[in-house]
Amino acid sequence: MNYPFWDVPHIGSGWVIGIIAIFHVMISHFAVGGGFYLVLAERKALRENRQDWLEILRGHSKFFLILTGVFGAASGVGIWFAIGLAHPEATSTLIHNFVFGWAIEWVFFIVELTTAAVYYYTYGRVSNELHLKVGWLYAAASLLTLVIINGILTFMLTPGQAWLNHALSGREADFFWQAFFNPTYWPSLVLRTLVCVSLAGIWALVTCSRLDGETHGNLKTELVRWSSKWLIPSFFLMPFVMVWYLLSVPETQRELLKLGISTIGSGAFTQVTRVGLVIIMASATIVLVVYFLAWRSPKDFTFSHAVSVLLLGLVATGAGEYTRETLRKPYVVGQHMYSNGVRVKWVEKYNKEGYLKHSPWVRQDPSLPPAMAVGEAMFRGQCMSCHTRDAYRSMERLLAGRNRESIGNVLKILHENGEPYRRYMPPLVGTAEEIKALGDYLAAMVAPKTNAAPAALAARP
């Protein structure tokens, strides 16, 4: 039982959140944009009296209902499970502060899921006006879910000075609205809305591509082109909104983007900028690929073409989420809590009185000798929220070839506010004994043969 520090072998707990989140973003943003797509397309079809359009849209709304109602909702709950396990401290902070926000959020969720189901099942069974109204209700409710969750997500990057001034006072929740409408709230909302609109077009292309271009040439041409147009707002506005967003991010976090892009460094040093560039490249490619494959020859636009556009969308959103998460480093809640759960204001106390003394959840492993168990507990508590032993940001790789002394030097830098690591890593906290125990443990883990590891450790898988 390793609660609250969840030891996920190889990928680390962060990537569990990451994988679920990227999957969820693809679908949830589609749920918001797709609502508008459906009603606007339906309105157009009704005005022009196009039965064939309505037929296609009905199929699309079924696909939409299943995708968002099942996979979107399930992956959203999955994020809850994952963050609760991977980062209980941060999750607890969010709940304490935003419990009311989440209550509002769930009201909109229920409205959203209900109207989506009603919309599909009343297709062709109620008057056109009523059906459109249901559609509009759905679109509004789904947009409102984004409006709410966006406040909580952006709070983690930029809590805002008002809230920070009262952090840990027990009165933080009084500053709910300041925390909610924080500095990155608006740019992020516009950015995500643009993504929603684009994804609506991309998913609609998947549906349109199933039409037979031979028998329904004109219909397919119209639908494919009309869906492609949903990429236009992003095409023009995205660059500006991205700049706006970056300008709202604190200077210290923006600095992360400047770390050695032209050098070969690996890890957080340079990865974030490169992934950031992937967003831009993948987005540009989506536009060009849609132009070449869909706009120019809509009749020949096949399902596999649509899937490749969708995959490019996945790459772009995945890179976007990764960049947003990494920009927060070394915090999980900006300027307030470090990514391993240590609060900024408690660092001094931990250094004086001991990290483990104040971390009742971090239990020591009884199968290890006492000195090792302290080091192992320090490792689990302070390193494992970002590092794994042997795979993603592997400690074995990062410390390879170092002896006990040089591992000690690394820990010393991390403990004493050393540049440049502290730009994206939390300080190592604890008493001198605790840090020494961590060094012994790491030395034994990295090179069990040379650094005299206890048998229990060397035998670990």
Binding site: L288, W295, S297
Partner: protein, 163 residues
């Protein structure tokens, strides 16, 4: 736009002019994305090729070079050394004084050398002659004197700096 879609296009648009306008617009937008792509590939390639230039410019900004052990240079002899990216010449004269010059001949850029027996600086390429103390162009084709550097000698070495 292919011939197959043209027909449907005109019927959808009603007028041909609008379609042409839109085609121009779409073409321009795609061209813009293409240019962005080229820039994204071009920038790293340019920086890659310009690397040595950047290094050289950084070196050219050098204003001072320390030559450890150079104070042991015997009299009536010279030492060639690198001053940033440039070749330079340090001369220890017979009377114990020191001079340092940029060794690039002001005529056509050959590297000059010190001739102790003539007590002059000579350029092999076209026979340019300079004064060994001042660097003044005293004979041959060079149009200007050599660039002079300041020399400070201490117990540990020689420091050459730009004046």
């Amino acid at each position: 736009m292919s011939s197959t879609t043209k027909a449907s296009n005109v019927s959808a648009e009603g007028t041909g002019g609008e379609a042409v306008d839109r085609r121009v617009f779409v073409g321009a937008a795609m061209g813009a994305v293409g240019v962005c792509y080229l820039a994204a590939i071009g920038y790293p390639v340019y920086r890659y090729l310009a690397s040595p230039v950047e290094r050289a410019e950084a070196q050219a900004a050098v204003t001072e070079v320390t030559l450890p052990e150079a104070h042991k240079l015997p009299r009536k002899s010279a030492l060639m050394f690198k001053f940033g990216p440039f070749t330079a010449l340090l001369i220890h004269h017979e009377d114990g004084t020191w001079s340092a010059f940029n060794a690039k001949c002001t005529h056509l850029g050959c590297t000059v050398k010190y001739e102790p027996h003539n007590n002059r600086i000579f350029c092999e390429c076209h026979g340019g002659i300079y004064d060994a103390r001042s660097g003044a162009n005293t004979g041959g084709p060079p149009p200007r004197p050599l660039q002079v550097y300041q020399v400070k000698v201490s117990e540990t070495g020689v420091v050459v700096s730009k004046s």
